[in-house]
């Protein structure tokens, strides 16, 4: 876990005092809403459908117990006793009052947290692989680099008024759990001739024009990462379209100018920035590394874990929610925030405290938030897993569904969001409940369902194996289905199946897709996505809309 120094603390205090004064001036009428809005957005404060919403950054998804307890305290003191974890590893509070927000930010600053650049046309909170520092398949922990990028991008004078928001994701592993190909910049760590560096992917993004990112440079050495990023954002800042909000993201800049043109300009800018940054990365990354406390893993016998596996309930949870740790005596625990019928990504203050306690007692004081809206205990000794499971169970946090049909990503949709065109949360709730009632999700196996309540795609529907997009069609909530999306290193944008379904029809339609898959798969080792890739859309279309002949007649 990274520890902030005095500079960070002083910076946050100053920034919060500044925002407190801005809020006061808004309330006393010195500032109009037009003047205040960009200021509040820079501090993560939105005005949504029913109330203000404060989006708090959880840099690269990393937390410790103290921070999570503080998030619980905010939920209780200034919200309605819960928080919502998002697809960008942040937490959102749905009910703060304007006057309370400066106090909330001061409370966050006590533990080195903030809401800076969680909104606005800036470089947003950097997201990272949620298994970083723990997983067996990674080259190195990407989080020191994520912290490097956070420090560089926070209050960066050139990049406070970009054409549009700018999102960076980073992974240290060849298995991409950070959706790097759907970000403005995606960074994939590589090793070449003994040197660590990054493949730089640019121009990915979802939203109304979904695009898979393209490799702009196959290798940037780690000590030149910042000057290279600075060059990319510099070129984007010059060429990004400010005349049309829908064409302002870097994916459009790359698409309209061509990757080669952009690459040439980036390389030219890089010549300059490389000289300016000479040695900065090395010095700063050394300082950051020194402040990243890696846990001293204490191994030990795993017999208690083997014994516990005789209990089928524990075994089912362990098979679904554990991932391989780099240390054979440890495991990575994913805590599902997707209890069947509950709101995806929501945790009560009580649940947050339980997770904080578990992290402290069994997890070397480390927690992660995943973009899949779950919580991770990245380092748990296998012999402690039965105890962890029991405590999770008592707190309603032991749902065994990670990676399965009810582990649904859903944006807040029209239950909260001012931009939404339809609801997503109740669709996710009903779908998960239906899957549970039918008892089919373990049979269906790995299946990622992702729901967005508008074209902006915060719910990542384009990269869901099954994607659901809620729209307003003539004053009625309508849901379009896409199939075959993929959020990993083999990223793909899903294809639309055809006409949309009403709010009442969408859950039965998804059920038909799952049942059709069970019919057509070769055997139980073939996943939904593999079956779709082998067979194409035809059998699934038939499940949704009936036999083709009948459809033509209709």
């Amino acid at each position: 876990m990274y520890r902030y120094d005095e500079f960070d603390t002083a910076f946050l205090a100053k920034r919060n005092a500044q925002f407190r004064a801005q809020v006061e001036r808004r309330i006393d009428g010195s500032l109009t809403e037009d003047e205040f809005k960009p200021l509040r957005l820079m501090n993560g404060l939105y005005l949504q459908l029913h109330a203000y919403m404060l989006r708090v950054a959880i840099p690269y998804g990393s937390l410790d117990a103290q921070k999570l307890r503080k998030l619980a305290e905010l939920a209780e003191r200034w919200d309605k006793g819960y928080g919502h974890f998002t697809t960008r590893q942040n937490i959102q509070y749905n009910w703060p009052k304007l006057r309370d927000v400066p106090d909330m930010l001061d409370a966050l600053a006590e533990v080195g947290m903030h809401a800076i650049q969680t909104s606005g046309n800036t470089i947003r909170n950097v997201t990272a692989d949620h298994f970083a520092g723990a997983s067996a398949d990674e080259i190195a922990d990407p989080r020191p680099y994520a912290e490097l990028i956070r420090q560089w991008s926070t209050d960066h004078p050139e990049f406070q008024f970009l054409p549009r928001k700018f999102k960076i994701a980073i992974t240290g592993s060849p298995n991409d759990r950070a959706v790097t190909r759907a970000h403005d910049i995606g960074l994939r760590m590589l090793e070449r001739e003994g040197q660590t560096g990054f493949e730089v992917i640019v121009g990915g993004g979802l939203g109304r024009t979904p695009m898979v990112g393209k490799v702009i440079r196959d290798f940037v050495p780690e000590n030149e990462l910042l000057p290279y990023l600075e060059a990319v954002v510099h070129v984007y800042n010059q060429h990004g379209r400010r005349d049309n909000k829908y064409k302002a993201r870097i994916k459009i800049t790359v698409h309209e100018n061509g990757l080669d043109t952009i690459r040439e300009q980036v390389e030219a800018a890089f010549e300059r920035t490389r000289a300016e940054f000479e040695g900065v990365d090395e010095r700063v990354i050394a300082r950051i590394r020194a402040r990243f406390r890696a846990p001293d893993l204490v191994g030990g016998e795993t017999q208690a874990y083997q014994d516990a596996r005789l209990d089928p309930v524990f075994r089912s949870w362990a098979d679904t929610n554990l991932a391989e740790h780099k240390d054979p005596d440890h495991a990575i625990v994913t805590i599902s925030l997707k209890a069947h019928g509950a709101t995806p990504g929501d945790a009560t203050a009580g649940q947050m405290r339980v997770m904080a306690e578990l992290a402290e007692q069994y997890g070397y004081d480390e927690l992660r938030i995943s973009h899949q809206q779950n919580v991770i205990l990245p380092h748990v000794r296998k012999s402690d897993l039965p105890a962890v499971f029991e405590e999770l169970k008592a707190a309603g946090l032991a749902t065994a569904n990670i990676g399965l049909a009810s582990d649904i990503i859903a944006c807040p949709g029209m239950d909260y969001c001012a931009l939404a065109t339809a609801r997503s949360i109740p669709v996710a709730q009903q779908l998960a409940q239906r899957v549970e009632d039918l008892r089919i999700e373990h049979e269906v196996g790995p299946l990622q369902i992702k729901i967005s309540g508008c074209i902006n795609a915060c719910g990542h529907h384009h990269v869901g194996h099954i994607g659901i997009l809620g729209l307003d069609r003539g004053g009625v909530e309508t849901y379009q289905i896409t199939l075959g999306g993929d959020a990993t290193e083999t990223a793909e944008i899903g294809q639309r199946t055809g006409p949309g379904f009403s709010y009442e029809e969408i859950v039965p339609a998804i059920e038909r897709l799952m049942l059709a898959y069970l019919e057509v798969r070769e055997d139980e080792t073939e996943t939904f996505l593999e079956a779709y890739r082998r067979l194409g859309v035809a059998p699934f279309k038939e499940a949704l809309y009936g036999p083709e002949k009948q459809r033509d007649a209709a």
């Binding site: 749905n94 239950d415 909260y416 109740p426």
Partner: protein, 109 residues
């Protein structure tokens, strides 16, 4: 021929609480849609929106929303306004909770 004008109400969010509010006939803001002024004339609606926008120290983002006349006052036409008037569907929060606690306190007293 001009298109017939769909009746409107003016709605916004309260500056301090962020709560959904409705512009009333006497120029104040109510938490209840049924107390909103139903605007059936387009020119009048335009003028009232200007009046409402003058109160930027109390509210944020005033706009005209379609509405229809109901037994207790204006009612929403579009589902977005129904949700704004009610609260989220996943928890009993927002106006629906306020309405329930109002009802409870009425029972008590």
């Amino acid at each position: 021929m001009p298109r017939p004008f769909t009746p409107k109400i003016i709605t916004a969010n309260a500056l301090l609480e962020g709560d959904v509010v409705y512009f009333t006939e006497n120029g104040s803001w109510s938490r209840n849609m049924s107390e909103a002024e139903l605007l059936e004339d387009e020119a009048h609606a335009t003028i009232r929106l200007i009046d409402a926008e003058q109160q930027g120290h109390i509210i944020v983002g005033a706009y005209l929303a379609d509405a229809k006349s109901g037994p207790k006052g204006p009612e929403p036409v579009h589902f977005r306004e129904s949700f704004r008037a009610r609260g989220p569907s996943n928890y009993l929060h927002g106006k629906q909770a306020d309405a329930r606690s109002d009802a409870r306190s009425n029972d008590n007293y």
